[in-house]
Symmetry: C2
Subunit: 195 residues, 2 copies
């Protein structure tokens, strides 16, 4: 039994608690009991907000995916040369990762045991494919080196970007910090570390 507090949760604030628990215990390892304890409200109060833990997972990964796919509609992602577009998308992906850190962390960790997880993985692959297509267009323009396979380059690029969720921890008031991070990723990926 938990000392249940008054349920003042909104869908947003309850989601934030659930995502933290999912990231700590893994989605599979999280029960409604764990969510109830972390939120400090009863299980039936949680059921007042959502149908179950899979709905919370769906909302959380949808938030991450909306952030990522939203980038592809921005002017910087659709205007100019493909090489500029792909650099823009890379920079903005880092920014979305950082601003939606717990949601993207969860998205990157889902493993495909439920329908929601499989859907999330499928959408992630679609996003990667869109970036890969931009790299291909940039290669066709002669702006990407021809001696690196595009599929491999896409994987290495996302390997670098996605690793952020494992080690990046935002500093207090770190807006400049975040810009510097996005810039460092773009420079390293597209221009390399060598002078």
């Amino acid at each position: 039994m938990t000392a249940a507090r008054r349920d003042t949760y909104t869908p947003e604030t309850l989601l934030a608690v659930a995502v933290q628990v999912f990231n700590e215990r893994g989605y599979d390892g999280t029960s409604m009991e764990h969510l109830s304890r972390a939120a400090g409200i009863s299980k039936s109060s949680i059921y007042h907000h959502v149908a179950g833990k899979e709905e919370l997972l769906h909302r959380a990964v949808a938030r991450a995916l909306d952030g990522l796919f939203g980038i592809l509609e921005e002017p910087g992602a659709v205007n100019g040369r493909p090489i500029e577009q792909v650099e823009y998308v890379t920079r903005r992906t880092v920014e979305v990762l950082v601003s939606e850190l717990p949601y993207v962390t969860l998205l990157l960790r889902v493993r495909g045991n439920t329908r929601t997880e499989r859907w999330a993985m499928e959408r992630r692959r679609e996003f990667d494919q869109r970036v890969s297509d931009l790299l291909k267009a940039a290669a066709a323009d002669g702006d990407i080196r021809s001696d690196v396979d595009i599929r491999l380059a896409t994987r290495l690029l996302f390997g670098m970007v996605n690793s952020l969720v494992e080690w990046y921890r935002p500093h207090a008031g770190g807006g400049a910090d975040q810009d510097q991070l996005a810039e460092a990723v773009v420079r390293m990926a597209f221009e390399g570390l060598r002078t």
Copy 2:
């Protein structure tokens, strides 16, 4: 009860089975019973080889760490300009990751709940630090761009390299494949994707 087969394991072959189980179930989620079932021999037969599952973990991560630290003693890692050394170490790290894939995968996933895990994490940090020192020396020579922070560059480099364990699956007879992979990582990290 499992239909126990005759115990023909060597320390090496038993380790290979254990590492596979650790990577599938997580080290924490693996019991001696799981190991016994996967190996097809009784628990007491396993105790004939090792004191327990932590000894298996220790041997496995030691094998990965020996492979990685061995690189730093090779002529290519100690002779020439620091920039050449760090490119050499990056290339060889990819090669060791691929040739010791299950062992390095396990090393990268340990989370620090036991003494062996904490030791492994400490050794990993030492390795990262050695590479970071090489990058610093290369920067002091003016061979690394001065607008990217070295600690950040080290993390992004390992983010890219370590992501291999999540998606790289060796092809049959893929020696050339493996060289191409190491070369692609070095080119992208040090020269960038842009022409």
